[in-house]
Every structure is written in C-alpha cells, then in structure tokens.
Symmetry: C2
Subunit: 375 residues, 2 copies
C-alpha cells in the first residue's frame, strides 16, 4: 500500500495540502473535525453532516466507554456502524475527559482511577485499556493515552506529567500494535487503524521539544499537540505550536487538539497543521453564538429581532440560504430545539468552509511538493 | 375562481378524497397537519418537513401573539415568510391555549382576560382580537375564537359555554370578513384566507347538533369539531364525531381538532373527516414513544439496547432507512438533541404515511364523486 499520508502541495510558510488515507475515507487536509462526543455531533443528523462535507468526526472514548459501553458497540459492529457514519472517525484517548470531567481521580504510574460523572461509579483506565476501548470502538485513528497538563502548571508538575505521558505513549503504541487487527470491521482497501502520539509538556518549550523528539522515535502514525486551549493566552498557544511543528516528521499528519476560533484554525492550517478539532462551533451554536464572515454574532441580541438578513450574507449554507436572523433569534428566545439544529449547521458549515478555502489556497500558492518532500 | 374544496372521490361510509385550494398550497385531503406551536414543528427543520410531504402545518395564535408578537410577524411579511414555510398554514384561535395554559383567566361575554404563562403579564382576547392576530400572522386558514368546554362539564356549564362559542363565532366571522383583505401577503392565485367555525357542545349530542346547525347558517369556509380529546373516553369522541359530521355541508372541509392516535386518524378519515392535527406524534417522539406498523415502541426500553433493526421495519422514512433501535435508544439515554430530531421525523413520517395510504384507498374504493356531490 502507498503512504497513508500524501502531501499534494506545500507552501513557503509550511502549510501543506494533503490526503490522509484512512480505512473509511480518504480525508482532504488540512481538515476540521466536528466533535461527536457521545456518538452524535450534537443536534446534527448524519446526512446533514455528510452534505456539509464533513469527512471525519471525533468520538469520545470516555463518554462512549461509560454509555453505551465499548463492548456493546463492538458487538454491534463498531462505532461507524452503530451511529451510521460511513466516513472516517477519530477517538480521543479519554485522558482529557478523565482530567476535565471527573471529580475524583487518582493518578499512578499504572493509570488513572476515576469516578463516572454519570453515576459516581469507579473506573480504572490504563494506556492498555484505553487502546482496547478505542479498538473496540473501531476508530480510524486512535489516540495514545496521555495526561493533559493543566494550565498553569509549575515546572516540576509539568515534568512529572510529561514523564507519565511518555511512558503511557510507549505502552499505548505497543498495545495498539499488538491488537490493531481486532477492529470490529474489515477494511476492503486494506488500510489499517492508525495510532497518534500526543505531545505534552505544558507551556515549557524545552519539555515540548523533549516530548516531541521521544514520541517521534517511537514512530507513531501521526502526532498531535495536546494540552493547548486549556486557558493559556493565545500567544502562548501559538508559541507552543510553532515550537513543536518543525520537530514532527514532514511525512506524517500533525494534529492540534481542541482548537479553536475561526481565525486560529486558518492560521494554524497555514503553518502546517493538518488536523484540528474543537467543540467551539457546536457548543457556541447551542448558546446562540454564530461565527460569520462579519465576525461573531450573538443571535440572542434584541437588535436582530426584526433583522431579515441571513445569519451570514456571504455564506451559502442551507441555514443562510433559507432563514433570517429574526427567525433564529425567535427560536433561541423560545427555547426551541430547532435553534440548536440551525445554529450548529451554520457554524459547522462556516468552519468546514474555512478549511475548504485554506485547502484551495494552499494548492494555489504552493511550490511543487516533490521539491519539498526530500527536505 | 372554482370552489376552494374539490371532492375527487367519495366512499359509501362517507370518506372523501379531496383537494383544498389554499393561497399557499393545494392540500390533498384527508390530511394530517403537524403542529408548529411557536413557529416551528419542534425539532424538525422546514426542508425535512417538506421532504416528508407535509403540506400544511399549524401555528398557535396564543404562543405567537405572546412571542415574538403578531405585529412583529406582520411587519416581517407574515408567518410563512418569518419561518420560511412556503406551503399552507392554519392558525388556531388561541382559545384552547388560553383555557389550557393560562393559570388566571376571566371569561365574560366580551372576551377572556388571562395571564401569560411566560411572564404573568395580563392580556385580553376577544373574537375580534383573535381574528386580528390571525390575519396579521397571515394563515391560510383562521379559526373562529371559541370557548373549549372542559371534560367533564355538566349540562348548564356546557350550555353556557356553547352560548359564548356561538356568539363569538358570529363576531369572529363578521370581523374576519371585514378584514380578510389585510393579510401580510398577496396571493398570486387570487385565493383568499379562509375562516372555519368550531362546533362545541361538550359531550351532549343535542348541544353539538344545535351548534353545528347554527354555525352552518353562518356559512363558514369550513367546520371544525373542537372540544374533543380533552380526557373523554374514546367511544365518546367517536360518538360526537359521528353525530356532527352528517350535519356539516358536504362541500366544505371538516376538521377534527387535536386527534389522535394512528388508528384514530385513519378511522376518522374514513368516516369523512378531511383534516386533523395533533401534538401526539411530535410530543410522544420527544419522550421516546415511536409509532410503528408493529404498534407503539418505547425506545427507552432496555430490550432495544442491542436491537439492530430499524424502528419500524415496514417504514421507508429517512430514520428507518439509516438508524437502528439500539442507536435511537442510546441517543435517548444520553439526552442527545438528535434523539428528538430522529424520533420526531419518524413519527411524522408515520402519520403522514397513514394519511397517504388512506387517500389512495379512498380513491380506489370510491363511487364516482359526481353522483354524490348533488346529494
């Protein structure tokens, strides 16, 4: 089989236009991945996601492990089949959710004991268990189990967290390699599930470098930069990404987790980030915040009550083609379920549209990729 | 202009296959009308409603008057334009909601004073005001302002309620006729807004007869049977409908308000009811109750947790074609917004499908309509 990641074009600042060949889809990169926490991108039916052009969505290992359970999903043929999503899917490792959602947790070298946010029941996650769960779900891309360093964290805390993340990365990859053949589906193209490592290190550039170098030695299928968008100033996010990107192999996909605002995802994509995910477009939508070519629009505001223009006059999405700001405001005021649906569809269309424009622009302004790929 | 209601075929038991020519749509009858209380059929985007074949939906005068306000909707071109629904729409008079939703109300011959369920503010509805609001909304069909008799009600209470309903019907119609030209839209076909009277009378057949006869003298565009499905046994609902139907003019549409279960709407349609509406398919959907060819299905039940069959194996709706009971159960358990969307789409498809089958069957088993229409 050819390389799972083809770079079609590259630009001087490092931006890449690529194709990521996954078992369920060849994904055009740079790509934004809508978040489908509990096996659904909140408030959007799968056929709508398809028509918006989403090629890969996220699933959350922590949530799906707790409900409905990974063994149930395995028995039903894996997550793609369970939720009827034939395109690509990535699952996070559960690490971030354990750290951000679970009230009681206890970390040891072996793993993390935590209590469910649903019923308080006690659970133990190890790197091996996280991989088992992700393989049972059958994602196209599994993420190594990591410890997300909180912000702010002092140096000794960041070092300790990094030590765990690197040890767990090695165990994750080793377990993944031994069990990757146990996916609940067979891929007709012969593509394999992939496993990505996650660069941590808090906001310490030397720790980030150290982590990146060690993970690259382990030879993951791709590399993520985690522990960002955890409350730090945006300049620091950018600094960490700029520090780490050059250390990652050019021929592997690079994924920045949990970002960001529309201008951020465009900026990072132009710097050479191939994949991003964020709850922002979907979560903000449910709170009435729309992203538009004219900036952010709080659809709850009184001034939109008789505004007959579309949410974004420059947008060609199904919501902007059909509905007015006045109607979207009314739906939000009335607490109608259609509010979340329409707001989310627009925001996702906007995010996916940004990535499409960036891909086109990377292709147009690129140097021939062949010259670059030997660097 | 030709008659606004054409009967295409009739059957021996009284069932009719017709066409109701309304300003925004020629509606095939018998028809089930999904309820769109606050300017949206809860959890269903308008394009989905269209693709399910909905030809006419309801709006609630009481809700839209309170929020966002009928004058706002008038300024924005009427309800069709406000919610982007180009097909037909019917508005109730607000009477039923005032009686069922408003904690404080005071009824006089002049009208009803009530407090908003939203903010407790005081409002006064008269027949004239109800018609003004409905004309501002610009529905294809406006309903006369009535007093819905509660169940059970003793005879003197039912008589008093009926007296009000008949006086208000006359005032509603007279005001409607004087102002029907003030719709916020102009119909290119030259069709006019219509006004329907509502037969009340509690569960007393002689009062029902008396009401029907008086309303028919007033010459409404169509006739509704109201005050049913208010807690009475189903045999009584049927008795009232069977009593009233023969008293209504054959050449005008007949509408039974607020019914019913799938077998009920089929039964009433075969008896000669042309229009029905009910919150049941949409409301039940949000509580996990699905209507199927195999009966009612409570999708929350544990026994569906690994059931890979579609909600209704005999249904060809977009939900049954794509999703499993196991997934719908998971969505419900997880409290996901997609749950309400998919459940509602299925239930509406099921209801609309029943009416389509009934229409086809009425056409097939009919006597030639020409022989009947002279009776």
């Amino acid at each position: 089989m050819s390389s799972p990641f083809d770079i079609l074009a590259e630009t001087e600042p490092g931006g890449r236009r690529g194709q990521l060949h996954l078992p369920h889809r060849t994904v055009q990169t740079p790509v934004f991945m809508p978040v489908g926490t509990a096996g659904t991108v909140k408030a959007v039916p799968q056929d709508t996601l398809e028509s918006l052009g989403a090629e890969i969505i996220l699933g959350n290992t922590y949530h799906l492990y707790l409900r409905p359970g990974h063994e149930l999903i395995r028995r039903l043929g894996g997550l793609h089949r369970f939720i009827s999503w034939p395109r690509a899917m990535l699952t996070d490792s559960g690490g971030f959710q354990v750290f951000s959602l679970s009230a009681l947790r206890k970390v040891s070298d072996e793993g993390v004991r935590f209590r469910s946010h649903l019923d308080g029941s006690s659970h133990f996650f190890t790197p091996e268990h996280s991989m088992d769960v992700q393989i049972a779900l059958g994602a196209d891309i599994c993420m190594a189990f990591d410890e997300c360093t909180e912000y702010p964290a002092d140096r000794s805390r960041a070092e300790e967290s990094l030590r765990l993340t690197m040890a767990w990365a090695r165990r994750s990859l080793s377990h993944f390699r031994a069990h990757r053949g146990e996916a609940p589906w067979t891929d007709p193209k012969g593509c394999c599930m992939q496993c990505f490592g996650i660069v941590q290190g808090g906001m310490y550039t030397d720790l980030r470098r150290q982590c990146a170098e060690r993970l690259v030695e382990m030879d993951f299928d791709g590399y993520a930069i985690g522990g960002l968008s955890v409350g730090e100033p945006r300049a620091l996010t950018l600094e960490m990404i700029a520090e780490v990107l050059p250390l990652l192999p050019k021929d592997k996909p690079r994924y920045v987790m949990g970002v960001g605002y529309p201008d951020e995802i465009e900026q990072y994509a132009r710097m050479g980030v191939d994949m991003m995910d964020c709850v922002l477009p979907t979560r903000a939508a449910r709170h009435g915040l729309l992203f538009t070519s004219e900036g952010r629009l709080n659809i709850k505001a009184k001034r939109y009550s008789e505004d007959q223009s579309p949410p974004d006059p420059a947008c060609g999405c199904p919501v902007c083609r059909r509905y007015t700001r006045a109607y979207l405001r009314h739906l939000m005021q009335a607490g109608e379920p259609l509010s979340a649906i329409l707001n989310t569809v627009h925001n996702l269309a906007y995010y996916l549209g940004i990535m499409e424009r960036v891909r086109n622009s990377l292709q147009e302004t690129s140097r021939p990729a062949a010259k670059i790929s030997v660097l």
